[in-house]
């Protein structure tokens, strides 16, 4: 069942990429792309089981779209932050590596979370070890472990829990 789900997700993904690649398309191209995508998903690929971890419910779809906008907003904030730090004459940085905990269980969820952390204000995922993420933070704030976790992870976890918890 899970592999079937992964194949369907892969089919949608492949068709979407084909759609973007041939954007002013005609019917012939669409048919050719559809056939190619069908052939691809019939090949037994061991790695694609990860894609089956996405949930199919309408709620997950809504959260996915909300996650996209939240992510873009965080990306813009991160860039204003970087611009401020680079242009400031005294470089206001105080870097450090901190440990944060996540309660996402799936591999896809953790992958998305790590990528999101890297593109948000002042943080880069350095190493993962089970539930722990080691994050390089350009300006370490918050003394307690929990406070840090809340600041870095909680915003994304709220969405990712629903999409592929």
């Amino acid at each position: 069942m899970r592999l079937f789900k992964a194949r369907v997700v892969l089919l949608v993904l492949a068709l979407f990429i084909w759609f973007l690649l041939t954007y002013p398309f005609d019917a012939q191209e669409l048919i050719a792309g559809g056939i190619a995508a069908l052939v691809i998903i019939l090949i037994p690929l061991p790695g694609i089981a990860v894609l089956g971890e996405i949930r199919w419910t309408p709620k997950a779809l809504i959260y996915g779209i909300a996650y996209l906008f939240y992510f873009l907003w965080q990306l813009i904030k991160a860039n204003i932050d970087v611009a401020f730090r680079v242009l400031h004459p005294r470089l206001p940085i105080e870097p450090g590596i901190v440990r944060v905990k996540t309660h996402l269980k799936t591999r896809l969820g953790r992958f998305l979370l790590a990528n999101s952390i890297t593109l948000t204000p002042g943080t880069i995922t350095l190493e993962t070890d089970g539930d722990d993420f080691y994050v390089h933070w350009i300006k370490v704030e918050g003394i307690q472990d929990k406070e840090r976790t809340k600041k870095i992870v909680a915003g994304f976890e709220r969405f990712l829990e629903v999409i592929c918890g």
Partner: protein
């Protein structure tokens, strides 16, 4: 409409410039990585959005490039950061704590 696209392109190039400036100015590897990853991602995104506004038929390919950059850029910087850490590139003088090597100073106080 063309002018809007041009403004997007210039904004993108300014972010790319800030990324390069960050590469020069930042004191240690990981801070350089911060500037080099985030600012280049948004810079490329803005430039390609500007391109798509000026040439609407290219929207599909520009969107594909943006998606590719969003996924590949954090991945490659994460791989590089981990490799650098395991080969012993240390944090700079300004660093306050390193929990991957051991507990933080203020961490021990609260425990």
């Amino acid at each position: 409409m063309e002018i809007l696209g041009g403004i997007f392109a210039i904004a993108g190039s300014i972010f790319l410039f800030l990324a390069a400036l960050g590469l020069i100015r930042m004191p240690d590897l990981y801070d350089r990585m911060q500037a080099g990853t985030k600012a280049t991602t948004l810079g490329t995104m803005l430039f390609l959005i500007g391109l798509a506004i000026v040439e609407p038929l290219w929207t599909g390919k520009a969107a594909l490039l943006i998606l590719f950059v969003i996924f590949s850029n954090p991945l490659s910087s994460h791989t590089l950061a981990r490799a650098a850490y395991h080969t012993g590139v240390t944090l700079g003088e300004r660093a306050s704590c390193d929990e991957l090597a051991g507990a933080c100073g203020d961490e021990e106080d609260s425990a």
